[in-house]
């Protein structure tokens, strides 16, 4: 048989074969790049069930991802895919919510812009029967124009945890005012350890608590900027004083949301959420005390930021009803899952009052104290406070804290942006 001599050019058949291969490759790579967390078909059980995509940010506590997968698998009425997002979850979620390829169910914090642009659906009927079992703050933070748009999954109080032994050794009491906090941080600073860690940005996370401790608020009840006054300026000025005291840890390998700084002995006190309590207790045992953000002065009040995560249903979902049903099942009906989610990995307060009251792990030590402080001083987010306002507020704090800018002038600039945004939203 003579050897086959390949043609110099491409035959039609060759071209079709090769372009067909390219097309298959393109389809494969496109499929790889479009992972939304949603199962590829109707579901493993035959395709009749709705396929839902549930998005989470990356929790730091080991076991949380497996827990989320376990809950999803346990749900029988739809096939739920879980997408776990390390890094900048907020930006990814923002982009995802612009398209129908985004999540069906996602965790986030509500702001009015999400409602006005129709990104989320109201969930009132889901919690109608158990509304009284949620705290007023948890309901308020998810309510716009009288409608509830999200079901709170966890409550994450943020406070100052400190090493009791180090305060005792220095002969100081737990700080009760901001001045006490600054003095304590100075007294606890040594060659090897800084007094306090409030984030590598110098304490921008303390902006809200400092404002509340002065008696102010992000927004007033009638939706006006609530920080344009001398006491707020004084509170922000104190944050700069703390930063400039050289007793604040800066440039730590991980940020304030991770307990490494206090656990590794880089700082004696740390501003952090209750989620990190198990890790801190494991490393430090009972040598752990807790205080709220201290009051500005005798006229002020202590403050605890009662943050957390809420589950929402995307209005762009192809399966809004199925998504709602899943959210109700997981965060309203399955109380054992909420308990597991809040208490078996990091520590969080279960949003359902009935569950929080019987949570044994929150009944003793620093956990019990944190819960008490949250009940007494907890403040939740106002949904009318938009990310644009938050950015202006953060820039203001950066200028005051790190650059030592005049608080009065910086407040004026931020207030202008916030007022413009409020006019756009409320007229």
């Amino acid at each position: 048989m003579p050897a086959r001599i390949p043609p110099a050019g491409l035959s039609r058949r060759d071209l079709l074969q090769r372009t067909g291969g390219l097309a298959a490759l393109a389809a494969f790579t496109a499929a790889c790049g479009s992972n939304t967390g949603r199962p590829p078909t109707g579901g493993a059980d035959g395709g009749s069930k709705a396929a839902l995509s549930q998005w989470f940010h990356q929790y730091g506590e080991p076991g949380t991802r497996e827990a989320a997968l376990k809950y999803a698998k346990a749900y029988q009425d739809a096939t739920v895919g879980v997408q776990w997002t390390p890094g900048d979850y907020g930006s990814k979620l923002s982009a995802g919510l612009l398209s129908s390829k985004g999540p069906d169910v996602f965790e986030s914090q509500l702001n009015i812009a999400m409602v006005k642009s129709g990104q989320v659906v109201a969930l009132d009927e889901l919690i109608a029967d158990v509304k009284d079992d949620f705290t007023e703050g948890d309901l308020a933070t998810n309510t716009v124009d009288g409608k509830v748009y999200g079901i709170r999954m966890i409550v994450d109080p943020q406070v100052v945890y400190y090493r009791k032994s180090l305060l005792d050794k220095a002969g100081i009491k737990p700080p009760e005012t901001v001045d006490d906090l600054i003095s304590a941080a100075k007294a606890l600073t040594t060659d090897k350890m800084k007094g306090i860690f409030v984030g590598n940005d110098g304490g921008v996370a303390l902006g809200g608590p400092a404002l509340w401790s002065s008696g102010g608020a992000y927004l007033t009840a009638d939706n006006k900027a609530g920080f344009g006054n001398d006491r707020a300026a004084q509170a922000f000025g104190k944050l700069h004083e703390l930063y400039a005291s050289k007793s604040v840890l800066l440039g730590a390998p991980t940020d304030w949301t991770d307990p490494s700084a206090i656990v590794q002995g880089l700082a004696a006190m740390q501003w952090i959420g209750m989620w990190a309590l198990p890790a801190m207790q494991k490393a430090l045992g009972d040598d752990l005390g807790v205080i709220p953000f201290p009051k500005l002065d005798a006229q002020g009040t202590a403050a605890v930021y009662s943050g957390g995560w809420t589950q929402f249903v995307s209005a762009k979902s192809q399966n809004v009803d199925a998504a709602k049903k899943f959210v109700k099942w997981l965060w309203v009906d399955q109380s054992e899952f909420q308990e597991d989610w809040c208490l078996n990995y990091g520590f969080h307060i279960p949003p359902r009052k009935s569950l929080a009251a019987k949570a044994a792990k929150l009944q003793t030590g620093a956990a019990a104290e944190t819960v008490k402080l949250t009940q007494e001083f907890g403040r939740t987010d106002n949904p009318a406070w938009t990310p644009k306002m938050g950015t202006a507020f953060g820039d203001m704090l950066t200028n005051i804290i790190r650059k030592g800018a005049d608080p009065g002038g910086e407040i004026g600039k931020a207030e202008k942006i916030v007022t413009t945004e409020l006019s756009r939203l409320f007229g």
Partner: protein, 299 residues
């Protein structure tokens, strides 16, 4: 094979290989640019669909936005550091590597290797290992040997130490690329020019560099400067990963990312900012071209 079918075959091959890329360019570059242009004239909050025509209002907003203007200032400072430093160091390294007799390819590879590293990975190494602010960070350990205090490199605004990690990480990452360009330029210079110069009494070193190498490298130098400046405008990864979205060192792309794709999601204003930035880059490039005479490089 007739010349007509050969031409047709060539055309087929051309489209087979370039078609997917042209398609990608159209879909992922030109279409978004066009859509961004459209959005820049509309209100588009939390949506990529234009909702209300606002004319030039987004442009006016961005041009009067202190943060946007300040981001252009950040770029200028960054460019003032990075462009001359990259130029001088890559040229110096290229001259050295080009003169090495033994293992030239090895040295070339050593300097080029960082180019293959991701900006994100390099930034994290810089942030977590070299320039972290605690006592066990590499830079602080070295300072400790000399009895100096620890420095919070990325957190200290006054003095602005953060520029050191920002500039060095990019230098490490991109020096190799420009080094290769300069080596290519150096190897294009005819040895006879140097021989003639030596015959005429020129001394090796500064004299031959000043009167032969430097003028002969004009085309390469202009290209390096141009590419460097555009790359400086595109700064995003190292700023975002080392500093986050902070207002004292926020280059234009980080600011626009925050407005458009971050939590603010104001696609209208973000698109207007992107268009303004594009115009600034085009004007600066044309200006640079005019000053350095890119087209006259071989005259």
């Amino acid at each position: 094979m007739s010349s007509r079918s050969a031409t047709r075959n060539n055309a087929l091959w051309f489209w087979l290989f370039t078609g997917p890329f042209v398609l990608g360019l159209l879909i992922f570059s030109y279409l978004p640019i066009l859509w961004s242009l459209v959005l820049s004239f509309f209100e588009a909050q939390n949506t990529v669909t234009p909702s209300k025509f606002v004319g030039l209002r987004n442009y006016a907003d961005m041009l009067t936005d202190a943060n946007f203007v300040s981001s252009l200032g950040t770029f200028t400072v960054f460019a003032l550091f990075i462009v001359p430093l990259t130029f001088v160091l890559s040229l110096a390294l290229a001259l050295l590597v080009n003169q090495v007799e033994i293992a030239r390819a090895f040295f070339r590879s050593v300097f080029f290797l960082p180019t293959a590293c991701s900006y994100v990975v390099a930034s994290l190494i810089w942030k977590l290992s070299i320039f972290n602010g605690v006592r066990f960070g590499l830079a602080n350990t070295v300072l400790g040997w000399f009895g100096a205090d620890q420095i919070a490199w990325l957190s200290t605004v006054d003095p602005p130490w953060f520029w050191l990690p920002i500039v060095t990480v990019r230098l490490w990452l991109q020096l190799g690329f420009y080094l290769i360009l300069f080596i290519a330029g150096l190897q294009r210079i005819s040895p006879t020019l140097y021989e003639a110069a030596y015959v005429d009494g020129a001394k090796p070193g500064w004299q031959t560099f000043r009167f032969i190498t430097w003028p002969q490298l004009r085309a390469t130098s202009v290209a390096v400067l141009l590419l460097n400046l555009i790359a400086a405008y595109q700064a995003f990864d190292e700023f975002y990963n080392l500093l986050g979205n902070v207002n004292f060192a926020r280059p234009p792309l980080v600011y626009l990312y925050g407005i458009s794709l971050g939590s603010i999601q104001d696609l209208g204003r973000g698109s207007a900012g992107a268009m303004i930035l594009a115009v600034v880059i085009i004007v600066l490039t044309l200006l640079q071209n005019k000053i350095f005479g890119f087209g006259k490089a071989n005259d």
